[in-house]
């Protein structure tokens, strides 16, 4: 399995490098920058590194999304921006790695868009703690512009039961409904933090779920009737994990902020845990307004 391979590789690397350059015991190979830094430092490894097996290439849409997130989170020089609204120092985007064909037993009555997804989270290390998880849909814009769309998303987490079935059966489910203007969005993020938290907290390496995502034209709030379903050419969603890496190599924003701040820290109400990658500026809550007015 990929996991055992990575493990073996790290042992190999250690045995070939001079002991001075060995990874400290217990440090997993998952720190993207460390292994190549160590390899470049021991010259004889350099050729080996360049000839390593090619990496799987991510989807261009996913790359575009993460480049945008990078621009929002870091300056041109690559230094993390000092805005205080986000706690994460790691964001991982996973594409689903396989889809199961649906058996008759699995289809729910009336579901036509049930997609089965498997995410492999091997790259998440033990020191990366989950803050938020999002299912990320990208839209192609073939839907008529300036239309209002209402979507509902049914999410089923699947557990492997040992009845020998290749695809596991559904275990527990949750339904989301959201409404947005297609004109503005290329991406739709569905916050599934509370839903996936128990799974990820138990260090589950594979998350298996089925998603039913259907969209109708119109806006239920403005009493327009929801009309015929919108045929959205949907790419299966990616899974976005916002994490706080507590390892030494990771940047700990709060440490450096506290270090710089001379006046004692006053507890302040934070109105949002995380930077909103889609670019919406956080709306200041009335409490926030009052606090800033009082400060003024």
């Amino acid at each position: 399995s990929p996991r055992s391979r990575a493990h073996v590789a790290s042992e190999d690397t250690n045995s070939e490098l001079s002991p001075l350059l060995w990874l400290p015991k217990g440090v997993r190979r998952g720190y993207a920058l460390l292994p190549p830094l160590l390899k470049v430092l021991s010259d004889q490894e350099h050729q080996v590194w360049t000839s390593e097996a090619p990496r799987l290439q991510p989807d261009s849409r996913a790359l575009r999304y993460m480049k945008r997130l990078y621009k929002m989170s870091a300056t041109k020089e690559g230094i993390p921006k000092a805005n205080k609204s986000h706690l994460y120092n790691t964001v991982r985007l996973f594409a689903p790695c396989s889809e199961c064909k649906q058996g008759p037993r699995d289809l729910m009555k009336g579901d036509i868009h049930l997609v089965d997804l498997l995410f492999n989270l091997d790259r998440v290390t033990g020191l990366e703690h989950l803050l938020k998880s999002v299912l990320l849909y990208s839209f192609d814009t073939s839907v008529p512009i300036s239309s209002s769309v209402t979507c509902t998303c049914h999410l089923f987490v699947k557990e492997h039961d040992f009845s020998g079935q290749v695809c596991p059966s559904a275990s527990h489910a949750v339904a989301f409904s959201l409404h947005f203007e297609v004109r503005k969005r290329k991406w739709v993020e569905i916050d599934v933090t509370s839903f996936l938290q128990p799974l990820i907290a138990t260090n589950r390496r594979n998350i298996h779920m089925a998603v039913n995502f259907t969209c109708l034209m119109g806006d239920p709030h403005q009493s327009t009737n929801l009309e015929n379903p919108v045929n959205m050419a949907l790419v299966p969603p990616s899974l976005l994990l916002y994490l706080n890496d507590t390892s030494e190599q990771a940047y700990h924003r709060w440490n450096s902020l506290q270090h710089r701040r001379k006046i004692p820290v006053r507890p302040r109400q934070r109105n949002s845990l995380l930077l909103d990658p889609s670019g919406d500026k956080g709306k200041e809550t009335s409490q926030g307004k009052r606090a800033s007015r009082r400060r003024r």
Binding site: P58, K67, V91
Partner: protein, 130 residues
């Protein structure tokens, strides 16, 4: 006391000689710019951003009498005394980074997933002697 014996008590010209030993070195310890691109290391296949990285570095001589100018601890002076008076095999204080700033890196993992991570201490921003 030995030194004071040397100090000329009368002519100003000799005084300037005497104080010259406390003047800071011409190429004193300071931060130098250094900028690299990940393509030079052939890493641009998997490091998506940033394209360029300026780690900087510290270089220069450390003066004998060091105090607050470099924010050096008192130990630095003691090390100089050990080097000069007791054991020349003990190295003189070196010009090293004193403060860093972090760096955000966007990389493609071997399994094709994408990771944004903020790394601590990746860009030297200040130098010291110690």
């Amino acid at each position: 006391d030995e030194n004071t014996k040397e100090a000329p008590a009368t002519s100003p010209a000799d005084l300037s000689e005497y104080f010259k030993q406390f003047v800071f070195p011409q190429n004193e310890c300071e931060l130098h710019n250094f900028r690299l691109s990940f393509s030079q290391l052939k890493w641009d296949k998997w490091i998506i951003a940033p394209h360029r990285y300026s780690p900087q570095y510290c270089k220069g001589d450390c003066p004998r009498v060091i105090r607050h100018r470099y924010g050096s601890p008192v130990h630095t002076m003691v090390q100089n005394i050990i080097y000069e008076k007791l054991d020349p095999s003990v190295p003189k204080p070196s010009c090293v980074p004193a403060e860093y700033s972090p760096l955000s890196v966007l990389t493609i993992e071997p399994d094709g997933s994408i990771v944004y991570k903020e790394y601590e201490d990746m860009i030297a921003t200040k130098c010291t002697c110690r």
